[in-house]
Amino acid sequence: MTIPINYFLILSAVLFCIGVCGVLTRRNGITIFMSIELMINAVNLTFLAYARELGSLHGLIFVFFIMAIAAAEAAIGLAIFIALYHHRNTIDVDEANLMHW
């Protein structure tokens, strides 16, 4: 028997909301970044669940591109945090208020 798609969608929704919670409540920049990766993975799971449900390969291709873009985003974001650490000696996002209005 195959597992109903709803199970995967619910798991994906729960993981996404855990990621949202991490972004909203944490102040460590690296942890916020890891929460974003968690949200991206939840979306990937939704794409794959619907790809199997609809019998289409396009969902898998989208997951492929999302992985590539997540890698680029992680590289740039971590470089930004390294630069921030060199300037401010912290990666607490509360301290990074240079562009604060």
């Binding site: 729960v14 460590n28 990766e37 390969l57 971590l78 990666i91």
Partner: protein, 170 residues
Amino acid sequence: MFDLIVFFFFAAIAVIFALMVILHRNPVVGALALVASFFALAVMYVLLDAPFMAALQVIVYAGAIMVLFVFVIMLLNLQHQKEERTRPIQQFLGFVSSAAFAIALVYYIIKFSVVRAASGPFVSDARAIGHSLFESYILPFEMVSILLLAAIVGALILSQRGQSKGAEQP
């Protein structure tokens, strides 16, 4: 039946380690918990008949990206840094709003159950993905390669310690 047992076991692992990522104070423990969560998600991909994507998940996410995270945490010597509790009201509001969001999402997923479309045989091996990627998706593929090149250059420029100014003006 066996599939269901595997699903619930690894779903529990994924959710528990994801919670550990956002609740643990130490970023190194968070990164390792995220690796465990990604491995559980790779098992989900296998259950969804996408073993190629599961391999990519393990290689790219659990391998490359998480090594990058752990490397930066070690480089900046953050493993001893603990964030102290400030702004309790905002934190409480964040927890409550994300929990409400989760409950609403799950409620509507259950309420409006997805109609099962009549689908053909689902072939998702590397050969099928390669054909699709290099025939109908060749332009996005090339654009992603350019994006990755731009990301490499950007990361190099961002992470150097401002030596370029001195080098340009001797």
